[in-house]
């Protein structure tokens, strides 16, 4: 074995045996440092013959590279071992609870209003609003409900207190969202397509009634909008809202002072096993009232009924929320029981969209 082989095995053995980075660095300097053995031998090359220089130089270079690589490899191995040792000592009970974060919820009424808005927005309906304290003109007269009309008595109206010195009839808490029809017509003229979701009030309180609930009004006025268009619109809405491939609606003649012809709308459903399924079965469930706008109502909204025609409908938001999500009791909607809010509520980021689906 010549001197270079000896050097090589001496260093490689030393590197393999090095137990820490300091020992390794010492070896590296002893071999490759400025005054290291191999560096010194490199310097001796100058005094050699060209032939000798060529063979020895090449051999030295190979050796240098080999030792350098060994040092690097060993260094990495030592670092890995140290990290392993550290990681072995670093242990958390990851089953402990995370730092707490409150989780909020959206009320079903808000969620369903957003669902309804998303669907009708896609069909080109804007969202109109109106005040909840209404004059009796907007709530009744403009909607073709004359003061002595029996329908007026059936509305279970809440009246606002009226100063005895004020000759005007008392204002009312709107009994339906229909006054927004008038306001939207006055503000926008024709053609117009709007929905108007919001709170409404009736003097009624039992298992299925609350003195306040929510309705959404819909109205579309154009040159030739028909009741058949109304039916299609409601079919499309119900399909989208109840998230079923098919729905079947039944229009039943009825009477509302502000529409003519008027129809109650039933949806085909099944109650098999106590569970409501929309779009199948042999039962019919009344879900809304609708009709073609009464010419007097169009006129009250400042629209010429000989030039324009349209449809209107109104449905209970709480009611369709109950049907869709299986919520049993209307009054619980307004009790703010945290258990109820959490159970029936929706995540803040579950914004219903037509493209992403309404519910998860």
């Amino acid at each position: 074995m010549d001197a270079l082989d000896q050097l090589k095995s001496k260093y490689l053995e030393g590197i393999a045996a090095a137990s820490d980075e300091a020992a390794l660095e010492e070896l590296r300097l002893a071999a490759l440092g400025k005054k290291g053995e191999i560096s010194l031998k490199m310097r001796e090359l100058g005094g050699m013959s060209p032939e000798e220089r060529q063979t020895t130089g090449a051999a030295l270079n190979v050796l240098k590279t080999e030792i350098d690589a060994a040092v690097r490899a060993k260094k990495e191995a030592l670092a890995d071992a140290m990290l392993d040792a550290r990681l072995r000592s670093e242990w958390l009970d990851v089953t402990l609870p995370a730092r707490p974060r409150r989780v909020g919820t959206i009320h079903p009424v808000s969620q369903v209003m957003d669902e309804v808005t998303a669907i009708f927005a896609d069909m080109g309906f804007a969202v109109a609003e109106g005040p909840q304290v209404e004059s009796d003109w907007y709530n009744f007269d403009a909607l073709n409900i004359a003061p002595e009309h029996p329908a007026r008595q059936e509305h279970d109206t809440f009246f606002m207190a009226r100063d005895p010195n004020d000759p005007r009839p008392p204002h009312v808490l709107r009994t339906h969202t229909s006054p927004v029809q008038i306001r939207a017509m006055q503000a926008q003229g024709a053609p117009v397509r709007v929905i108007a979701p919001g709170r409404v009030y009736r003097m009624d309180m039992d298992q299925t009634h609350a003195p306040m609930f929510h309705q959404v009004e819909g109205m579309a006025i154009g040159r030739d909008i028909s009741m058949a268009n109304l039916k299609w619109t409601l079919e499309e809405f119900c399909k989208a809202f109840f998230e079923v491939p098919n729905v079947e609606l039944r229009f039943r003649a009825s009477h509302f002072p502000f529409t003519e012809p008027s129809a109650e709308v039933d949806i085909r459903c099944s109650w098999a096993g106590g569970q409501l399924k929309i779009g199948e079965g042999d039962s019919w469930l009344e879900i809304l009232g609708s009709g073609m706008m009464q010419p007097k109502v169009l006129a009250a909204g400042g629209i010429d009924p000989t030039q324009w025609q349209g449809f209107a409908f109104g449905m209970g938001i709480d009611r369709i929320a109950m049907l869709k999500y299986g919520i049993p009791d209307l009054r619980a909607f307004f009790e703010s029981d945290l258990r109820w809010l959490k159970h029936y509520g929706f995540a803040a980021l579950d914004l219903p969209t037509v493209f992403g689906g309404l519910s998860k």
Partner: protein, 802 residues
């Protein structure tokens, strides 16, 4: 409105089934609420024959009967006194449901003997109240169905009753004939003719109606009547009693039953006076102040001068069109009867009925509007029935006033009907429909029948045509979009804000509530409301008397309810209207959040701490940022009274308060029964300015390659000095260079005062300097620092902490 199938068939010649009729009624807008078909209930029962009847060995009152049934001989134990051999009975077998007992029969063992069914009484089958013994039939063979026997021998017992809901526009359907007319128009049968044969009067009525002149114009245009003398007012015949019983009316006497029959049959309410008790003529006038009447319902009513009455020399005898009086009412002793048929103004009747709270069949019909042209015909028909059932002799008819003219016509435009309904109904069919409903045509003008007060325009013709054509058959047609392409945004900026705030607050961990818009007076008053302007005149309870002036009282009540259930940590919010007054539009859109209890559950990290004002402030600021409120705002303390005066603040732009945050006033918490701590925020969503120009383009991002420098300063100031004063002062030191100033420490309390002097605290600010065109030298930084120290010291009256 109730009637029976056989009653309907008096007016309608039809072979349609009960189901078909019920479905059609609903489709026509005469919504069926209930069909009671006794045949369905009685379907299982069969006829049987008692072969032997022997005394039960162990019971005195029971007999052991051998009964021949369609399944052979059976043993039945029976306790009825008339259970004996040789009679034909009605048998219920084990498994049958007996309606009058509300049980499903089993095989019973009665005193040791097995009984294979029971023989029924009429009460057990809900046929009558008869329960003295079991039914004995005079005819019928063993195994026959009992309903078949009834249909043959006692059809009224299996006559199906139909209950329909009548919408306010259809008074004509408050008579069976009107219902029949609708069905006939639909093609479900043929309307039978109504034969009216005038009854000749044998003498002049001694009682005459006299309508006050001012009521003739409006109130009572016509009043007709006649005297029938020598009547016997006994029980009605069975068919009439059965009809009335079937629709839930109690038969009283023939005369009264006749008036009830005409009310339901032809929608012609009538009244009968016992002529012997009437003094002088019947005057139709307004009531006088102080008058009262004992009415037929046994109650005394105080009358008002707005109400119409029928009076004689004795005083008020009847509340016109609503209810007769007890004194002149007919009894079994009545021999001379005055029969009234009048037309009353719907509005006056409705107002009187409402004021007196009388819900009678007469009021119900008159206030919706009966057929004025039928006044005399109705009287003739009723006279004939009185003569038929009670005997006697009729006077001539006496009338005051005249039948009001209801003649009017509207154009039927078939093309418009098709355009509105969206169904292809041929013009001829449209005309046929209206004709079947009683309209007559003069060219294209449809003359409205006198029994349809609801038809007041062309739209009503459209409705009639559509209704009879059947809306069930309507096929949907796509509603084309108004414009092609991607729909435009449809929410207003405020609507977008509302949604952003709602989802934003929920994302911060609050649970959304929807609380009532009304609240009790005390809570309203605590929150600046409770004035008469926002009072509800007819509240449903004392908890809901006023419109809420603010969202917080509702949330605090919700918190109190949850605390009562043991939930102590709450984060509740609501977005909705609060009411500033009682006029339309005096409402504002608020978003309010309430934190009660601790910030977090107990955990190993010590996260749990009581909620405080800075929690509420953080959330209020987050939502303000989300809805686009400017970042630079002022904080002031011009607080409403329900906030803790020292621990709350308004976030404002000058006088415009965008939000309030802080602790709820402890007194308010106490009065509302909420255990603190409780902090809250209220945002007025419409108050933050909306962008004047809407553009999606952002300002260009200006980045500097030069390093920013951060310098910290601590100031000793009075404890009452507000941090924002110091921050704003620091900002003012160099508006170009200083990009951020933040408070990173506050040292306050006894230890701080020990170091810095009584009434002092230390505030530590971090100031970030961003050079624009050249790096800052030490001298530059020193100059800015000196300016900052100077400005802050002057603004706060403090000094740099040494």
């Amino acid at each position: 409105m109730k009637f029976t199938l056989s009653w309907l068939k008096d007016h309608l010649d039809t072979s349609a089934s009960l189901e078909e009729i019920a479905e059609t009624l609903t489709d026509l807008g005469l919504e069926v609420e209930e069909v009671v078909n006794p045949a369905a209930r009685l379907a299982p029962f069969t006829l049987a024959h008692v072969q032997h009847a022997e005394q039960h060995p162990d019971a005195d009152r029971l007999r052991v009967c051998t009964v021949l049934t369609d399944e052979g001989e059976k043993t039945i134990v029976c306790g009825a006194p008339n259970a004996r051999a040789g009679i034909t009975v009605v048998l219920a077998k084990p498994g049958d449901y007996v309606p009058g007992l509300d049980v499903t029969l089993g095989i019973g063992k009665i005193r040791g003997i097995e009984s294979m069914g029971m023989m029924c009484s009429e009460r057990e089958l809900e046929l009558s109240d008869e329960h003295n013994g079991i039914i004995e039939l005079p005819s019928g063979a063993v195994g026959d169905k009992y309903i078949d026997w009834l249909a043959e021998n006692r059809p009224e017992a299996v006559d199906p009753m139909i209950h329909i809901k009548i919408t306010p526009n259809r008074p004509d359907a408050l008579g069976v004939r009107g219902v029949a007319r609708d069905l006939a128009a639909r093609g479900l049968g043929v309307l039978k003719p109504l034969q009216v044969d005038p009854v000749p009067g044998g003498f002049d009525s001694p009682v005459k109606p006299v309508i006050d002149a001012d009521l003739k114009a409006r109130g009572c245009p016509v009043f007709a009547g006649r005297l029938i003398r020598g009547v016997t007012n006994g029980e009605s015949p069975d068919w009439l009693k059965a009809r009335l019983t079937a629709i839930g009316l109690r038969p009283i006497s023939a005369l009264v039953d006749i008036t009830n029959f005409f009310t339901y049959d032809l929608n012609r309410p009538l009244h009968v006076f016992d002529a012997a008790k009437v003094r002088g003529d019947l005057r139709i006038r307004l009531a006088r102040e102080g008058e009262e009447i004992l009415a037929l319902d046994g109650k005394t009513y105080a009358l008002k001068p707005s109400m119409m009455v029928i009076a004689d020399d004795n005083g008020v005898e009847s509340i016109a069109g609503i209810m007769g009086g007890e004194v002149s009412g007919c009894t079994g002793a009545t021999t001379d009867v005055f029969l009234e048929s009048a037309y009353w103004d719907p509005i006056t009747i409705a107002a009187t009925g409402r004021a007196l709270k009388i819900n009678s069949d007469a009021r119900y019909r008159f206030e919706r509007g009966i057929d004025p042209a039928f006044t005399i015909d109705g009287l003739e028909l009723a006279t004939q029935m009185v003569l038929d059932l009670c005997g006697g002799e009729a006077s001539g008819i006496t009338v005051d006033g005249a039948i009001p003219d209801t003649a009017r016509a509207y154009q039927l435009d078939p093309a418009r009907v098709i355009s509105l309904v969206g169904m292809d109904i041929p013009a001829a069919e449209q005309q046929r429909t209206l004709t079947a409903l009683g309209f007559t045509f003069t060219g294209d003008m449809a003359n409205v029948p006198s029994w349809r007060p609801d038809v007041l325009g062309e739209a009503d013709l459209v409705e009639e045509v559509a209704r009879i054509a059947s809306l069930t058959k309507l096929v949907g047609k796509p509603l084309p979009r108004e414009g092609a392409g991607v729909p435009q945004a449809i929410l207003t900026p405020l609507q977008v804000r509302e949604k952003t705030a709602r989802r934003g607050i929920a994302a911060l961990g609050y649970n959304e509530c929807v609380t009532y818009s009304f609240i009790d007076a005390a809570s309203a008053t605590l929150f600046g409301g409770g004035a008469d302007a926002t009072r509800v005149e007819n509240p449903i309870s004392s908890e809901m008397t006023h419109l809420r002036p603010d969202l917080l009282p509702g949330l605090l009540q919700a918190a109190a309810r949850n605390q009562a259930r043991g939930v102590t940590d709450l984060a509740l919010f609501e977005v909705g209207p609060a009411f500033t007054g009682g006029e339309p539009g005096e409402q504002v859109l608020q978003a309010a959040g309430l934190l009660v209890g601790a910030s977090a559950p107990r955990d190993p990290w010590g996260s749990r701490r009581p909620v405080d004002s800075y929690d509420a402030k953080a959330d209020a600021e987050a939502i303000l940022a989300a809805i686009g409120a400017p970042a630079r705002v002022q904080i002031n303390r011009k607080l409403d009274g329900w906030w803790h005066p020292g621990r709350s603040g308004n976030i404002a732009l000058g006088p415009n308060v965008l939000a309030t945050f802080g602790e709820v006033h402890p007194k308010v918490l106490r009065e509302m029964g909420v255990k603190g701590p409780a902090v809250a925020f209220t945002l007025w969503l419409d108050r933050a300015p909306f962008p004047k120009v809407k553009t999606p383009t952002r300002p260009a991002l200006v980045l500097s390659d030069l390093h920013a420098v951060e310098r910290d300063f601590a100031f000793v100031v009075d404890t009452s000095v507000e941090a924002l004063t110091a921050v704003n002062a620091a900002f003012g030191a160099d508006k170009a260079l200083i990009t951020d100033v933040s408070v990173f420490d506050q040292f306050t309390g006894p230890k701080a005062e020990e170091q810095m002097g009584a009434g002092k605290k230390s505030l530590a600010l971090a100031v970030r300097l961003q050079p624009r065109d050249k790096s800052l030298t030490d001298a530059d930084i020193a100059a800015v620092s000196a300016k900052i120290i100077d400005k802050v010291s002057r603004a706060t009256g403090g000094a740099l902490r040494k």
